[in-house]
């Protein structure tokens, strides 16, 4: 299992691996928002938590179609399925590798981009906490979507359509934590909901992903 994780990380960092794609997209979105909505700092600080969350979510979505498709194309998914590793473990590791190469950099970059959007000072810690809790769910849900669409030519569109509705609860509660944190309101309820969604998806979806992958490999 460690070998698979290390291989995926190595592949992501090598040339053409796609590391930084999500991060660059996140950067572009947040840099462009002040240009499009205007320079009023009060307006920017109101919308900052929501924009940062939306940007992170879309950046996550961007790299999903490569998550299993590359392994499917070169045949290594078939070979992994016949290896001693259970497919549940394979998809969990894939999701973890996706989170480490896409989700975690977004979490770390978010506070710096928060400055560009004039995020209120109390909001920074809540933004990082909410993204830290919310992004694993996005990777796990995304892996499920990738497993559903693996083997389809140009499956990216279908993947986005399938995954976006599943992202909505995470987006609602995650952005709510960041918004409440920024306005110094109580954050416990949305934070617990967000953590609950993440815990449930991490616990359940790998089984669903492995099941659909088995069917798709037939």
């Amino acid at each position: 299992m460690i070998a698979l994780l290390l291989r995926d990380l190595k592949l992501a960092f090598r040339a053409g691996g796609g590391f930084g794609l999500g991060l660059a997209f996140f950067l572009i979105v947040t840099v462009l928002v002040p240009f499009s909505v205007g320079p009023q700092s009060s307006l920017l600080s109101t919308i900052a938590p929501g924009i940062l969350w939306l940007g992170a979510l879309l950046a996550c979505l961007l790299s999903l179609d490569r998550l299993l498709a590359l392994d499917w194309e070169d045949g290594s998914l078939d070979l992994l399925a016949t290896a001693p590793l259970p497919l549940e473990a394979v998809v969990t590791i894939k999701a973890l590798a996706h989170w480490l190469t896409t989700g975690l950099p977004l979490v770390l970059a978010a506070p710096f981009l928060g400055v560009l959007l004039n995020l209120p000072v109390p909001g920074f810690s809540w933004l990082v906490i909410s993204l830290l809790i919310g992004t694993p769910a996005m990777s796990v849900i995304g892996t499920f979507g990738a497993a559903l669409t693996v083997g389809l030519k140009r499956g990216g569109l279908l993947l986005s359509l399938l995954v976006l509705p599943l992202y909505v609860p995470t987006l609602i509660f995650g952005a709510e934590v960041a918004r409440r944190g920024a306005t110094e309101m109580e954050t416990q309820t949305p934070l617990l909901m967000l953590a609950g969604i993440t815990a449930a998806t991490v616990a359940l979806l790998p089984f669903a992903s492995a099941a659909v992958l088995r069917i798709n490999l037939r």
Binding site: K10, D78, P84
Partner: protein, 204 residues
Amino acid sequence: MTLTVTDLAIARGGVPVLEGLSFALEAGRALILRGPNGIGKTTLLRTLAGLQPPLTGQIEGADDQIAYASHSDGLKPTLSVVENLSFWASVFGTHDIQPALDAFALNDLADRHAGNLSAGQKRRLGLARMLVTGRPIWMLDEPTVSLDRNAVQMFADAVRAHLGQGGSALIATHIDLGLDGEVLDVGPNKAQPKPIDDFDGGFL
């Protein structure tokens, strides 16, 4: 370790392709799978490897025993030859890749990226993967595609050594590898379309 297949029927894309197939593959033996294109050789190998369920019939002795090599080699172009091979070695819990490198003359290419290899070299690397799996039953689907005469000989030697160590191999191929083993021609097992019964006939 004997692989026993009894009265197997398999389908590709929902259409039955082979039926009534029975054979046994004993340790130390090779079975050469033959039959015209599209008869279902790949589907049979995929079924035995556990990638798809059979329609009917039993497969015994296959669990965690099979190393499967498909048409594609499962190589990552940005990883080196050694990295590709070590990855599969650790997935299968074996760690010594040197014999595999030796058997397929990959030592000189060890640090090259797999993306820079020729088609035949990639195939050799793909076949070297079988050696690091440490599994007794090899399932090979057209293993000699794009191999030159030398490499075919290397491959045949590797299979012979594997059989000598008590392993077995089921090989779908159209060329003569010079292995001592039975030929399994699946042509006669082609699935026959169901005769039209009264119910279907009512629609016609």
